[in-house]
Amino acid sequence: MLTINNLHATVADKPILKGLSLTINAGEIHAIMGPNGAGKSTLGYTLGGRPGYEVTGGSVDFDGADLLAFEPHERAAAGLFLGFQYPVEIPGVSFVQFLRESANAQRTQRGEAPLSGGEFLKLAKEKAGLLRMDMDMLKRPVNVGFSGGEKKRAEMVQMGILDPKLAILDETDSGLDIDALRICGEGINAIMRKPDKAVLLITHYQRLLDYVKPDFVHVLAGGRIVRTGGPELALELEEQGYEAVA
């Protein structure tokens, strides 16, 4: 589904990703772990197409298409979802309006018929329920006044509504208490653990992986993947730290 080959990227002319390669197949869940400053978030933003994250070498193939040639909204329509570490507050715009327009913008780009108001609300209600989020919260302005945990749950609701092929989740576990961590973990499983979907979890800690069991764990350090293993690698990292393992 996703093939990253020798990816190099800079932020403000500073090289961050230095030859990163990674292949993710449909049906797989991958976790990328690594110390601060390793380039984990840069990987997420670069794949999402954030301005300021400049690709200086390498390639990214997403379902047979050159992902890097796409604008951010085209990447979303192609089936990529980026879960933000720090979801952005948009005062004055309600979640419901934002998500309905987003879902329909994607459908329009894919040549599909837009969802009616009723169809959308039914879908939103179902996905909010998965994340134990009250629909009233989705009538509020995007992320405004939400706690850290609510923002992350709202990200997962968005993922459920937009129904991507590949989700890149950047530190979805940060800022979550134990209950919210479990709810988010279960949400990720319910929405994304399917034969035709894949997930790339970016995280510092092992704890989210208790709920979302990865098929592969990678260690990112110095802008490259320096080690790959199974779920046991995450436990090893947790015990021994990055310096010993990577």
């Binding site: 197409g49 951010p72 909204h73 979801p87 987003s102 913008a105 994607q106 780009q109 968005q158």
Partner: protein, 245 residues
């Protein structure tokens, strides 16, 4: 205030940022006198969405306890000027919510003069300006509180959004206070759309114009909140935004 017969020049503070050439085509501007009796309530709405130059001059007098809610949308004219002079009686209340949207080389301006002549009156002015291309958008707002007009509460909230670095926003909120017990607040900001927010919206599938339109819709909504015809005003503003983007 008597009508100025001669065409003003840019030396006049009230016309400093004006498009005098365009103004000459609609000069002189007729004064539209509106008088609200004691306790009277009225909602007024001005929508200037044609392409031709237009200038309006409203002179509103509010009696004791009268309430006036004025909403303005200027979106489309090559030159659009709305001047509003307000005089507030005791305990009167004046609300202005205005949005001006301009692109190309359009020049739009809102010029207000609100006089708190008697005690205990309130005035709220909310002005939102969106400018693209080489457009100029101006708000000149003077609030005067007369001697003895204690208990006055006057607020001005003025914000402009520049979509291109070539556009120009002018904002000059002014306070002239001769009373002691007065609450007066003014906030003024000129900015650009938040790049983080735009990327966030685009990462969910919105095209760049859709993402901008959504953020700008929220930005100007504050000018129309609570208006009798809020939906129609918003719809007209969104239509113009879509044309600008």
């Amino acid at each position: 205030m008597s009508e100025i017969a001669a065409l003003p020049t840019r030396k006049s503070e009230d016309f400093r940022y004006s498009d005098i050439e365009a103004l000459s085509g609609v000069w002189p501007v007729a004064r539209e006198e509106i008088v609200l009796a004691d306790g009277e309530e009225r909602a007024l709405q001005i929508v200037e969405d044609g392409a031709a130059a237009v200038a309006r001059h409203l002179v509103i007098t509010l009696g004791a306890g009268a309430r006036c809610d004025l909403r303005i949308l200027t979106a489309g004219p090559v030159f659009g000027r709305v001047a509003v002079d307000v005089q507030l009686g005791k305990g009167a209340d004046f609300t202005l919510g205005a949005a001006q949207l301009a692109t190309g080389s359009e020049t739009l301006e809102i010029v207000t003069e609100v006089l708190h002549a008697e005690p205990d009156a309130t005035s709220r002015q909310t002005v939102r300006t969106v400018l693209a291309g080489h457009a100029t958008g101006t708000y000149l707002g003077r609030v005067a509180v007369a001697r003895g007009a204690d208990g006055t509460d006057a607020a001005q909230s003025v914000r402009a959004m520049l979509l291109d670095r070539t556009a120009t926003a002018n904002a000059r909120p002014e306070l002239e206070i001769y009373a002691d017990d007065v609450k007066a607040a003014h906030g003024c900001a000129v900015g650009e759309l938040d790049a983080n927010g735009l990327f966030y919206l685009q990462s969910r599938g919105l095209t760049p114009p859709q993402a901008k339109r959504l953020m700008l819709q929220a930005f100007i909504a504050e000018a129309f909140t609570g208006a009798a015809d809020e939906d129609a005003l918003s719809a007209a503003a969104i239509a113009r935004l879509e044309a600008i983007l």
